[in-house]
Amino acid sequence: MSHTFVTAFARHAADRPSAPALIWEGRAVGYAELHAMARRARAQVAAAAPDTSRPVGLRVRKSPEAVALVLGALMAGRRFLLPSHELPDTPAKELYQQAGCEVVLGLADDPLVDRVVDPGAVAGNTTEPPRPADASAAASVAASAPAPVDDEAIGFMLTTSGSTGLPKIVPLSFGAVTRFTAWGAETFGITAGTTVLNYAPLNFDLCLLDVWTTLAYGGTVVLADPDRGASPGYLRDLVADHRVQVIQGVPLLFQLLVEASAGEGPLEAPEHLVFAGDSMPARVLAGLSTVFPRARWYNNYGCTETNNSFLYEVPRDRPVRTPLPIGHPLPGVSWLISGEDGRALTGPGQGELLVHTPFQTSGYVNVPSDGKFGPHPDGVPGLVYYRSGDIATRHEDGSLSVLGRTDFMVKVRGFQVSTQQVEAILLEHPAVLEAAVVAVPDPVAGHRLHARLRLVEPGCVGVLALRQYCAERTVRAAIPGVIETVAEPLPRTSTGKVDRNRVRDSVLERP
């Protein structure tokens, strides 16, 4: 019962102590070194939070020490809340309280941090283990096996991105994460020696693949510094210099890599590109072939609550329709589309996607789960389904695509319109680099749409031509009332998605 992804990591530290586990700022951190830091962190967690019945709060920025602190909590068999370090103090404090955290640990002084810990420092006057030389590494590792845990015991407590209000706390069991890492490693060929880029911040669910799967299977994680996440040259250098084989990220990451590669040679090492978090614009896809001549492309569909649930391998050699299909359910995944009458669709049609995965959470910690998790009258009996909040279309040929979030569905003159779908249409125009479509209340129409676009070059396409382009592709209600073009980049969230809330606020603030 205790053979988890954590024990798998520890085994690599014993078997291949000098193999690189992490790359950070050009420096490699070996498995034994990371394991030693994790052991120190484990002791620091135990000392700071002796009540094992309560979770530990972590407030960390990405770094090898932060990875070690998470590993230390996992090795101690503890539950821990890992919210975004960018969350402002007030909501962050409330989240730690809602989770029942005994103490909040951090690597640096911060108003919310109760105890600053340093897994990297070897204290001279304690019984902590010294940094092991390779020869003694195996013995040190063996002497500090991770605490045994039940399959259902909670480790990670992640948070939803929370477009409005306080994020929801999503607890994940050791078993769920272990099953997920097994799927990820097999699907993307992650094994000893595989190099994987980690672009997302450490609190993000995407890290379950690029950080935690990689460490469980003996690969090397190249940690991208989120502070430099918008720098095309930095990102390309990470991929090129460390011969990264697996790249997972939001479309922005791939857009930046394509941008940085203009005039440079192709990147030959990447084997798998995994698109996540947002729908992939056709224009970005079109640029990938020359930059990544050897890579296979995947559209990954999932969310924090269920983790990955569908995967679509994007054909490289023929045109694809966007939004990309979500493809096939992963092994062990059950799904259905709930039609307007609440019954499962059996043929083509549209409705909310419900999924059950082997990796899913048991429910939220801080808000009721009733509305989002439950059995479905037409689903597999006994399974708990998660209501994804995504509107999915089942096409004539049986394939599935996701139209957008139910949250992004608005009524314009009586028509259901997805602002995400309108964005996707605009992004297909070759002159459009970035797009945000937001709905603002309108006394007559219900809502009206406002599009803010950044063009490839200012003035390279007119508003009239863009309206025409939309008219050829969608219903009239979905054509934005105002199409505005701007010269500066659109605001982005910390995870690299276009920050539609900020765009909407700025539209609403205007007289």
Partner: protein, 104 residues
């Protein structure tokens, strides 16, 4: 757009003599009212204002109000269809029909 649509057309100073109905004039009004940021010269007389959602039925009433102000042309109720206001040219034709000198 939006709330502005339901306001009556801005009254123009009543011209001493009624000007000829011109496409340029109509285009200038449509752009000013419904296409912020677009230059009048960009708007082709045949550009489909309806398909591209520049105008809707409320906009038709607005344009008709402006035609009355500007040209003293009253478009009959039966003619107040979006199809008749589909483009700058269609608006001119509709206005000219209303004064009985354009194409039937």
């Amino acid at each position: 757009m939006g709330r502005g649509n339901i306001m009556p057309a801005q009254p123009h100073a009543a011209p001493a003599t009624v000007p000829d109905i011109s496409e340029e004039d109509i285009a200038a009004f449509v752009v000013e009212r419904f296409l912020p940021g677009v230059a009048t010269v960009e708007l082709d007389a045949e550009y489909d204002l309806l398909a591209t959602a520049v105008i809707d039925s409320l906009a038709v009433l607005r344009i008709a109000g402006w035609l009355a102000d500007r040209y003293r042309v009253v478009v009959p109720d039966a003619e107040l269809t979006t199809r008749n206001f589909r483009s700058v040219r269609a608006i001119r034709n509709t206005a000219e029909r209303a004064v009985g000198r354009g194409p039937a």
